[in-house]
């Protein structure tokens, strides 16, 4: 089997703001003049409470909403609408129940009017890589929650996204499935090499997976801490608690949340 290798994209976010209007015509600043640069192939995790603007950041990168001010560039190319180099994995798998697994994975190829037959083999390879070899002709209703989310990841990866956006992708899974998915995502990413923006509520999975963790807080949405995670890979989830550095990183993030009153110590 040929290993699939994808190229990570460079991301350059400059003075990015998003201001929503409420019904009462008041301004709500969801993101406030954010500056960020992601090197190609970096795994970046964003943690923060609800309303800190992390989902807004993802929607802006996905091109689903427009920025109020500022710019986003992928490999130097400014984006304002959905970009072919970007793939998204959402919290729920969003598989179309009337399509087979393979047809679901090939959906972005159809939408981009590419040659579906040519991508069929690649879709099967991706399925094999996530441990779902031979599941191509099954329907989503025949799969478990974890399997469905794996298919959703394949659907994003078939677009060969330089930047993979993941919006709390394991938030709806049970604890054991989540643990397995975290491990599998690490090995998949180590093989593929995409730039990843991974949004989560989980401090543990953020530190475990990422090269770099951005800690955000609300009103206005800002990056409070930009933390480089320097731990050798592959990291072992079952042994991560024996790692002193891991605890140091988690402590730093918790300190921010406690200082902001998002987590209150008793």
């Amino acid at each position: 089997m040929n290993a699939i290798v994808q190229t990570g994209a460079a991301v350059d976010i400059s003075r990015l703001s998003k201001i929503y209007k409420t019904r009462e015509d008041e301004d709500v600043v969801a993101l406030d003049k954010i500056d960020l640069k992601f090197e190609p192939g970096t795994f970046v995790a964003v943690v923060g409470p609800s309303g800190c603007g992390k989902s807004t950041l993802l929607s802006l990168l996905a091109g689903l909403i427009g920025a109020s001010t500022g710019t986003i560039a992928i490999d130097g190319e400014a984006i304002s609408k959905p970009h072919p180099k970007i793939g998204v994995v959402f919290q729920s798998d969003l598989l179309l129940y009337w399509r087979t697994v393979l047809e679901n994975i090939l959906l972005p190829i159809e939408i981009k009017r590419l040659d579906v037959a040519r991508y069929r083999g690649r879709a099967e390879e991706l399925l094999a890589q996530v441990g779902l070899e031979g599941f191509g002709n099954k329907y989503p209703s025949e799969l478990s929650g974890g399997m469905r989310q794996r298919v959703a990841i394949c659907r994003a990866l078939i677009q060969e996204p330089g930047l993979l956006l993941m919006d709390e992708p394991f938030g709806a899974l049970d604890a054991l499935t989540r643990e397995q998915m975290i491990m599998d995502l690490q090995s998949m990413w180590m093989r593929l090499g995409n730039t990843v923006l991974f949004i989560t509520h989980g401090i543990d999975e953020a530190v475990f997976l990422a090269d770099r963790v951005l800690v955000m807080s609300p009103r206005p949405g800002r990056v409070d801490l930009d933390l480089n995670i320097d731990m050798p890979r592959p990291r072992q989830w079952s042994r991560i608690h024996e790692n002193k550095d891991y605890h140091g990183y988690v402590r730093k993030i918790r300190d921010i949340f406690e200082a902001k009153g998002i987590l209150v110590a008793h």
Partner: protein, 256 residues
């Protein structure tokens, strides 16, 4: 072990047939016992025999009614679906048309039948119109509800892949709404049968409704019942035609 277990499902599977048979048998036995004349209430066997004997007559009139029902229903689809799309895509249009639609729906369509005959004559036109009027409302409502029920995130998903609204509609919106739309079709086609028959009651020279009135005026209760069975049969047949088409074009979530 296996035998014991299979008794439950067997009873479940055929329970409707068994109950129907029991009820028909009771009817068959109780009519002579009660002293009612067959002239007033014929037995199921007498009705069934009459249907077989009058098959050509029933078929001739059934074709007329079938044509009216199918035409009225087809018009309901051709007008209802575009109207539903307009309501779905334009908020202003929705605001403008919904009160009118609801007001129209409160008018009993049956009450329009004499007027339609007055305007459109004795032919098939008033029947088709009535079948159309009565069937298009459930088509519009079920289509709008089906389109609006879509998970907003699915739209975001395909938009993030760069889909146009055209693609979003055909890849996601329409397939997701199909179960609702077919639900509306099934209700509509049953109502269209009622519409056509009512139209025939008011003024007609052909059709099952006309045949039933003839039977009525001749005090031919058995033929009257035979016509009722034929009208029901028409509705059931059309229901299953739609059910069959649905099974061809949609994937049911819960089928294994």
């Amino acid at each position: 072990m296996r035998r014991k277990k299979s008794r439950g499902p067997w009873l479940e599977r055929y329970s409707a047939v068994i109950l129907a048979t029991v009820l028909l048998a009771a009817w068959q036995v109780l009519v002579p016992l009660s002293g009612l004349s067959e002239f007033v209430l014929p037995t199921p066997v007498a009705i069934a025999t009459r249907i077989v004997n009058e098959l050509p007559l029933l078929a001739t009139h059934a074709y007329v009614t079938l044509f009216e029902v199918v035409s009225g229903f087809a018009m309901g689809v051709l007008v209802g679906i575009p109207l539903a799309l307009a309501i779905f895509y334009s908020r202003a249009f929705e605001r403008a048309i919904y009160p009118i639609l609801v007001a129209l729906q409160t008018v009993p369509k049956v009450a329009l039948a004499p007027l339609l005959v007055l305007y459109l004559g004795y032919g098939w036109a008033p029947k088709i119109t009535l079948a159309f009027l009565i069937s298009f409302f459930p088509i519009v409502i079920s289509t709008v509800v089906g389109l609006q029920a879509l998970d907003k995130n699915l739209v975001n998903l395909v938009r993030s892949m760069g889909a146009s609204e055209w693609q979003t509609f055909f890849k996601v919106r329409l397939p997701a709404a199909l179960p609702n739309i077919f639900g509306g079709f099934k209700v509509a086609v049953s109502l269209a049968v009622i519409g056509a028959v009512i139209g025939e009651y008011v003024a007609a020279e052909r059709g099952l409704g006309y045949l039933q009135l003839q039977a009525n005026s001749l005090f031919d209760t058995t033929l009257n019942f035979a016509t009722v069975v034929a009208i029901s049969g028409l509705g059931v047949m059309l229901y299953f035609v739609i059910d069959f088409v649905e099974s061809r074009v949609t994937y049911k979530r819960d089928t294994k």
